[in-house]
Every structure is written in structure tokens, then in C-alpha cells.
């Protein structure tokens, strides 16, 4: 007699595996509304403060969506790399999320234009180096890397590699939905190792190029890892939240059990610590070394409103969720896991805001600046979710013929 009853496998075309009608109806409003809100946000930012502020707000929102998408890509790669069985029921959500890097890639166009026009990155502004006392010889070396052409090429490489990986894994997973071939899983596993290496390379350098180069004279080799920690943390939160909401909407009610929420909760807890660890390590090394060219980044962020925000991050990005998600009893309540996931997704934006916006050079830009930043985020996020619904409407939201689905359905924490 079985004590933990494994969930019965449903036929592949069961309506529980389709995106609920109520959800897919939202596609168009989200896409259109999101675009409008995003444009309004950017325009407010540009008008109320200046173009650079507006573009920074746009970049913050874009980086936020990108971290969710590539965090999901990493999740999928890691599941294959470790041959994970538990995660099969939620993996498709991550697969859908990672494909969003394709539409997001298009949204990078304004960033590349800004790099040519000198409206976002300090290094692309004419005469910036002279104005900031950077010796010409040093600046010449910097410029060899931070030139608009080379920057564009690198951006295309990152986006290309991510999109390629995402599409390849997505297509194979979709194909398995129809055919149930086990060789597909084997192939995806075999390629996950090199894929992770490529992924790590792109993530680190993209963080250097798109975010760290906002302060062109500053450098931190672990900056890429810092953004990655937020990325992988929020990707897990997206999975927990999306599963919870989909179940509320009536899809995959039986398949995603308390055990899966428990595991996602554990990983969220772990990555909260990982974020704190990396954020602190980066800070401490620079603080202890106390070299002006390294400390100025933190100097800017420890004055005025940014200093408050830094403390807020310490307490609310690490301390509070660390204590909050520590207990097993919290992790075994899906609604609590979903609540904490939402919380992390909000504080993740504060983190990116704190990283990116100070470089725009205008404090928080007062109420209009804040409104612009939030509108940009809401708009971009709505567009991404709209795109996600558009993509998910035609396909199943669970990898129904994955050879490890049974293992996932029967999964139980000790």
C-alpha cells in the first residue's frame, strides 16, 4: 500500500496542461497596455529629468526583465545538468520564460542607439573623460573596449547565445511533448555542460557591459556574479509565483504539489543567502582595500537617498526574507511561498534600481523620476508577461512526456 500517493498521470491533452482561457485573454491588453505605460514612463523620465535619466529607467526595467528570463534559462540548464527529476512539473514555465529573451533582445535596440548617441553611458558621452580628470593614456585603453561598435557587437553576441540556447532547449522540449523520445532528454543533458559555460560567460560580460560600464572607471570582477545571484533568485520566485497563480486559475492543480513548493522555497532561501554573500563580499573587498578607483562606486551609493536604499537592501533583501523563509513550515505552505516570491521580485527591482540609477546622476529624480522608473518597469513587465501568455497559449504548460515526469509527480521531501 502506498502512503504518499503519486499523482495520477493525466493524458497529454488534458485541459489542465493548457493555459486557462481567463489568462490567455489578457495577452493583448497586457502587450498594448504595457507598451503605452513603458512609453509614458520613458517620456516622463526624459522630460522631468533628462534623457539620460529616462534611458536609465528604461535600462533598469529591461535588465530586470532580462534577469528573470536568463535566470529561467539557467534553471532549465541546471535541471538538465543535474538530471533533476523533481522539477519537471515546473520546468516548462521556466522554458517559456527563457524564450522571452528573444523579444527582450529587440528591446535592447534603444540601448544600442543610446550607446552611439551618448545618451546613457558615460563612456559614450563626448568629453566625459577629460571632464572627470581621467588621464588620456588610461582612457585610450578603456576606449578600446568601450566603443559603441564593439559594444554593439558584444551585445549581439550575448543576446544571440542566450536566444540560441533558449530556442534549442525550448524546441527539443516541445518536440518531446509530441513524441516522448528519451533521446531528446539525453541530448539536452549532454549539451547542458557546455551550455552553462557559455551562459556564465555571457552573463558576466553582459553585466560588465550593460550595467557596470555605466560607471566606466569602476571595476569589480564579481559584478557579473552579483547580478546573476539576483537573476537566479528571482527566476525561482517567478516559478513559485507562476505555479501558484496558474493553480489558482485552474491549471495543473494536482501536478504541482506542496513538495515542489517546499523545494522551490528551499532554493529561494538558499539564493537569498547567496545574494547576501556575494553582495557583501563585493562590498567588503572594496571597503577593506579602500582604493579610490574602487570605492567611488560605493561612495556614490552611500550618500543621500542611496545610502538609505543600501540599508534597505541589507535588511529587506537579505535579513527579513532570510528569517522569513527559514522555516520548513513556511516553505510547505504554497500561499506563503508565493507571497515571499512576490516580495523578492519587488525587492529585486530595488536592488537593480540601486545599482543602475545612481549613475544617472540625479539622485532618485524626486517623485517624477520614481514614477518614471516604476512605469517603465510595470510597462516592460506587462509586455513580457503578455508575450509569455501569447507563447503559452498555443502549447502545453507542462512537459507532459518528459521521462522523469513520473518521478516529479511522486516527488517527496524527506
Amino acid at each position: 500500500m502506498g502512503h504518499h500517493q503519486a499523482v495520477e498521470r493525466k493524458p497529454a491533452n488534458d485541459p489542465a496542461f493548457a493555459l486557462p482561457q481567463a489568462v490567455s485573454k489578457l495577452t493583448l491588453p497586457l502587450l498594448a497596455g504595457g507598451l503605452v505605460v513603458l512609453l509614458v514612463g520613458v517620456i516622463i523620465g526624459c522630460m522631468a529629468v533628462d534623457t539620460r535619466f529616462g534611458m536609465s529607467a528604461y535600462l533598469t526595467a529591461l535588465i530586470y526583465c532580462t534577469t528573470l528570463s536568463i535566470g529561467s534559462l539557467f534553471f532549465v540548464l541546471v535541471q538538465h545538468l543535474t538530471r533533476a527529476g523533481w522539477s519537471v512539473v515546473v520546468r516548462r514555465i521556466a522554458e517559456l520564460m527563457m524564450v522571452m529573451i528573444l523579444p527582450l533582445a529587440v528591446l535592447y535596440l534603444p540601448i544600442l542607439v543610446a550607446a552611439y548617441q551618448g545618451t546613457l553611458y558615460a563612456w559614450s558621452i563626448e568629453g566625459w573623460a577629460e571632464g572627470h580628470g581621467v588621464p588620456a593614456a588610461i582612457w585610450a585603453e578603456k576606449e578600446r573596449y568601450l566603443s559603441p561598435g564593439w559594444f554593439t557587437l558584444r551585445s549581439l553576441i550575448y543576446l544571440g547565445i542566450w536566444s540560441g540556447l533558449a530556442m534549442w532547449y525550448y524546441r527539443n522540449s516541445q518536440r518531446q511533448d509530441e513524441t516522448g523520445e528519451i533521446t531528446l532528454t539525453e541530448r539536452m543533458q549532454a549539451r547542458s555542460g557546455p551550455a552553462i559555460i557559455l551562459f556564465a560567460f555571457c552573463t558576466s560580460f553582459a553585466a560588465f557591459d550593460w550595467v557596470m560600464s555605466l560607471a566606466p572607471m569602476w571595476f569589480s570582477t564579481m559584478f557579473g556574479v552579483y547580478l546573476f545571484t539576483g537573476s537566479i533568485l528571482s527566476a525561482h520566485c517567478v516559478l513559485a509565483l507562476a505555479s501558484f497563480l496558474l493553480q489558482r486559475a485552474g491549471a495543473m492543480r494536482d501536478e504541482v504539489t506542496v513538495e515542489h513548493y517546499h523545494d522551490l522555497g528551499k532554493l529561494i532561501f538558499g539564493f537569498i543567502c547567496f545574494w547576501g554573500y556575494i553582495a557583501f563580499s563585493q562590498y567588503m573587498l572594496i571597503w577593506y582595500g579602500n582604493i579610490p578607483e574602487e570605492t567611488h562606486w560605493f561612495y556614490v551609493r552611500s550618500s543621500g537617498v542611496w545610502s538609505t536604499l543600501g540599508v534597505v537592501l541589507m535588511v529587506f533583501h537579505w535579513g527579513v526574507p532570510f528569517a522569513g523563509t527559514m522555516s520548513r513550515h513556511v516553505r510547505r505552505k504554497p500561499w506563503l511561498v508565493a507571497t515571499w516570491a512576490t516580495y523578492i521580485l519587488i525587492i529585486h527591482f530595488v536592488d537593480l534600481y540601486w545599482v543602475i540609477m545612481p549613475e544617472a546622476g540625479f539622485g532618485a529624480g524626486a517623485a517624477a523620476g520614481l514614477a518614471a522608473s516604476i512605469l517603465c518597469l510595470v510597462g516592460m513587465l506587462a509586455m513580457m508577461v503578455g508575450g509569455l501568455f501569447r507563447l503559452a497559449s498555443g502549447v502545453r504548460i507542462m512537459a507532459v512526456r518528459d521521462p522523469r515526469l513520473g518521478e516529479s509527480l511522486a516527488f517527496e521531501n524527506i
Binding site: M1, H3, M284, W287, Y288, I414
Partner: protein, 510 residues
């Protein structure tokens, strides 16, 4: 299963029965048996399986472990210990009541209590204690270490690591009754039921083990004995250096040579463009030449413009002015220099007063002469001046005493600071500063050793010293005169007492 009556074995006489164990061949029958046993009221039943079985703790009615709480408490203890230890050992606020405990090290220019530096240690200690708490807590909760368990007496139990599932009802369970337990396990589908009896194997330690233990202990003495022998014997072979770079430090002392640099100098000259703290002559910096020379530059420019240029140049190069003063033939020094080197005749400074010194010395100390400055001056005077001039400035320091004792022929006795010719009205502050900086007669210049600010502080202290020996009661603020008079009385009385005592002793000894 249901048809065959399960076998039962009774305990042999004289052996304690620890409980009854039943064997099951698959997980499901074990789990259902566990549930039935739990429902029958057993609270201490235990199961042994070849692999972890989901839900067995629930089936046995085992409560969730308290181990997480132990780990949490231990972890928080680690956090507190680490923070208290670091703040206590390094913090200055702590030292007011536990002075000898705080090191007060300034590390890397950070405050005594700087949290970021403490976080790694705090993190490590938290993890360490939480791990210890978890590991040893698990041991304690499981009653470990336990070298033998009565379960092992039956050879059948070996299959618990292979293909058989065991359900054990211990005798210390309130519900336990041997025959009842056997019947219950049999009813629940056990393939085999037997009592768990005392382990009857010998309690003596096997001889080979004892021999091995003794041999290990004996052998472990050898290294210590070898070291002990080496400490009392002599050897002709060179000493063995475990850390040669610590025994022979590659660090260089002042004035040594090195092969590391082309010019062979171990003391490295300043890198062009660097600024040394307290180093006066840096091009482009605002240098206070009067502060560095003790000369009123404007007044000097009116008399001798070329000397101003030389002085400025010397300060800019960071050189001491000794050469300058010597070379230019500045009144006193020039006239005395030859007599010093040729003659051994001890010339007192007062006697050798310069015929004419027209240098416009600064007449007042540029420093604010507060208590801190005077204390600094006193400290510096004690370090650099007192060895010759004496703590009281009377010119009878230890070096002078020694020179007189050995009748050193080349010795020039140091000046007595209390000589009226050295008082401020005759010997301006600037001149005194210049003397300290550049030396006079046999006295070397101290500009290279004492910072300009400290030289001025010494000047201030010397003036205080002079005042202390030539002041009248009228120089003292009125409100303090009474206490001074009292002190004087006390001192006089003490001297009188001491004299009386000495006289008495002398009288006694006669």
C-alpha cells in the same frame, strides 16, 4: 502469509529481553505494520530498513525532531560569541572597564569597531557552531556513540542492510508485554518474530587489539624522545632550518646594500611626485619657510636677499640647513667650527657667544603653546635632548656624566639651558629652533630626526623649563599662590626631615 503461523522463539533463561523484533519482506507490509503498532499505543517502536522509506516517521508516530532548533540556537550563539569577541578585543568603548582585554588595533585605517571586517568571522563561527550543534545534537538525540546494540545479537538482523525490513518493539515501551508483542507482530504479517536478548559476546578487549594499542602508544613517544635528545646533544652539522626565510629575513636595514636594485641602495629614494607627510620641501606646495627655518624671511630679504634664496632652495630640496648655516658663515657657527674641530677645549656656549648675529630670528614660537604642545615638547626633549642636556636642562645628562667620568678629551660639555644668555631676550625662539635643527659646535642637527612642529614644541618646552627655574612667585596666578606656598612648605619640611634623619643616622653610626 496469513495461512502460515509465524515462528516464535522464546528467550533463554537468565537473559534480559530488550524487546521483540519482527521481519517483513516489503515496504508496504512494514508500513502497515508500523501504523497498526502505532495505533495499538506503542510509542517507542522502531523500524530498520535497507533504504530510507518515505513516511515511515509518520507511520511510527515519531514526532518532528527538535534538531533544527538546536542548530538555530547554536548558530545564534556562534553569532553572538563572534561579535562579542571581536568587538571586545578590538573595541575602544569596551576598554574603559576591561582595559587590559582590548587590543585597540587600528587595522587598515578602519575604526576599532567596524562591522564589515567582523562579518566573515561572525559568519564562520555561526556556521561552525550550527554545524557542531547539528552534528553532535544528532548524536545526542540518537543516543550515540553506542558501540553495541542488542539488535546485533541475532545474525538474522544482518539482512537489515540487504533486503529485509525489521520492526522492533522495545521492552521499555509502556505498552510492552513480550507474548503480546509477539502475537501482535505475527498478526501483522511478520515472516519471523524473535525476542531481542542481551549481547553475550565477551566484554574483554581482544589481545591483538591491546598489543596494537600498546605498540602505538610506545611508538608515539619516539618523536618526542628524539626531540628531547636533540635538545641536550651537540651536533657539528649545520642547523636545519624549517623556515629559512624567517630565520634569515630578507628584509633590509637602513644603510644596507642590496642586489635587488641597480644602484645597490636598500633605502629607496622617494619616487618622483610622491609627497611624504611632514616633508617640507615639495615643489608647488605651500611651504611655510619661516616655520621651517626659524628666520623672519621678509626681514632677512632686506638685509641679505641671496641668503633667503639659499634657505628657500634648501628647504625645497628637503635638506637640513646644517650645510647652509655652516657654509654661509652664519656668525656664531662659522667662527666656532674651526675651534671645535681643532681644539678640545671645552667651550661653554655662553662664553662663546657670537660677536654679532644680525639674523632676524623669529622672536615668538609659531605654535599655539597649549598644554598638549608643551607635553609633546617635553616628550621630545626627553627623547632627544635630555641624554646630554639633562632632564632639568642643566647640561648634565647621562652622556655628559659619562664623558666627565672617563675624562673624554674631545668632549664639549652641553649648554646649561638656564644660563641667562640662552633666555628668550638674548636667544630668540627662532635661533633656538635653528640650533636644534642645524646643531652647534659638537651638537649635531636634529632636523632629520625631529619634525619641524616637534622642534618648535621643544623650543616651547625649553622656555617653560627656563621659566620654572627663574620664576618668582609673582609670575604665578594669584589663586594658585597659596597652594604653591603650601607645596613649598611641604618640600622644605621633607628636606628638613630628611636632613634630620641623615644627621641622626650619622650620629648613631658614630
Amino acid at each position: 502469509m496469513a495461512d502460515s503461523q509465524p515462528q516464535t522463539i522464546t528467550a533463554e533463561d537468565g537473559k534480559t529481553v530488550h524487546g521483540v523484533v519482527g521481519e517483513y519482506m516489503d515496504v508496504d507490509s512494514l508500513l502497515s505494520a508500523c501504523e497498526r503498532v502505532r495505533d495499538a499505543g506503542y510509542t517507542k517502536a522502531d523500524a530498520f530498513t535497507p533504504f530510507p522509506v518515505h513516511g515511515i516517521d509518520k507511520a511510527l508516530g515519531i514526532k518532528p525532531t527538535v534538531l533544527p532548533w538546536i542548530a538555530l540556537v547554536c548558530g545564534l550563539t556562534g553569532t553572538s560569541i563572534a561579535l562579542l569577541m571581536q568587538i571586545g578585543m578590538n573595541g575602544d568603548w569596551f576598554s574603559s572597564w576591561i582595559k587590559n582585554f582590548s587590543y585597540e588595533y587600528i587595522i587598515s585605517g578602519k575604526p576599532y569597531v567596524s562591522l564589515p571586517a567582523f562579518i566573515p568571522v561572525t559568519f564562520e563561527l555561526t556556521i561552525l557552531l550550527a554545524s557542531f550543534g547539528t552534528f553532535f545534537g544528532m548524536w545526542a538525540l540518537n543516543g550515540l556513540p553506542k558501540f553495541s546494540n542488542p539488535m546485533f545479537t541475532s545474525p538474522r538482523f544482518d539482512r537489515a542492510t540487504d533486503d529485509t525490513f525489521f520492526l522492533f518493539l522495545p521492552a521499555n515501551d509502556e505498552k510492552f508485554d513480550e507474548s503480546g508483542a509477539k502475537v501482535l507482530l505475527g498478526e501483522l504479517g511478520a515472516e519471523h518474530v524473535e525476542p531481542v536478548v542481551d549481547d553475550d559476546t565477551s566484554l574483554t578487549i581482544p589481545k591483538p587489539l591491546l598489543v596494537g594499542l600498546a605498540a602505538t602508544i610506545a611508538l608515539s613517544f619516539i618523536p618526542a624522545l628524539v626531540v628531547a635528545r636533540m635538545r641536550v646533544t651537540k651536533s657539528t652539522s649545520p642547523r636545519f632550518h624549517i623556515f629559512p626565510d624567517m630565520d634569515f629575513s630578507p628584509a633590509k636595514d637602513a644603510q644596507q646594500t642590496t642586489t635587488l636594485f641597480a644602484d645597490g641602495r636598500a633605502m629607496r629614494p622617494l619616487v618622483p611626485g610622491t609627497v611624504v607627510r611632514g616633508y617640507p620641501g615639495i615643489e608647488g606646495l605651500d611651504v611655510d619657510y619661516e616655520f621651517q627655518t626659524g628666520v623672519d624671511m621678509e626681514a632677512l630679504a632686506a638685509i641679505d636677499a641671496s641668503r633667503v634664496e639659499r634657505l628657500v632652495a634648501l628647504v625645497d630640496e628637503g635638506e637640513t640647513e646644517a650645510e647652509e648655516v655652516d657654509g654661509v658663515g652664519d656668525g656664531d657657527v662659522a667662527s666656532e667650527a674651526p675651534s671645535d674641530s681643532d681644539e678640545a677645549a671645552p667651550v661653554d656656549e655662553a662664553e662663546a657667544a657670537p660677536p654679532e648675529d644680525n639674523t632676524p630670528w623669529l622672536t615668538s614660537n609659531p605654535l599655539l603653546l597649549d598644554e598638549a604642545t608643551l607635553r609633546r615638547g617635553q616628550e621630545q626633549f626627553h627623547i632627544y635632548c635630555a641624554v646630554c642636556h639633562g632632564m632639568n636642562g642643566r647640561g648634565n645628562g647621562l652622556v655628559n656624566q659619562r664623558a666627565q667620568k672617563i675624562l673624554a678629551s674631545t668632549w664639549t660639555p652641553p649648554s646649561n639651558m638656564h644660563d641667562p644668555t640662552l633666555h628668550q631676550d638674548k636667544y630668540a625662539d627662532g635661533k633656538l629652533f635653528s640650533t636644534i635643527s642645524n646643531g652647534i659646535r659638537r651638537m649635531p642637527g636634529y632636523a632629520a630626526q625631529i619634525k619641524a612642529r616637534d622642534r618648535w614644541a621643544i623650543v616651547g618646552y625649553v622656555r617653560a623649563l627656563q621659566a620654572s627655574q627663574s620664576a618668582s612667585i609673582n609670575d604665578i596666578p594669584e589663586e594658585q599662590r597659596d597652594s604653591i606656598a603650601e607645596e613649598q612648605e611641604a618640600v622644605k619640611k621633607a628636606i628638613a626631615d630628611a636632613e634630620a634623619e641623615a644627621a641622626k643616622k650619622a650620629a648613631e653610626s658614630e
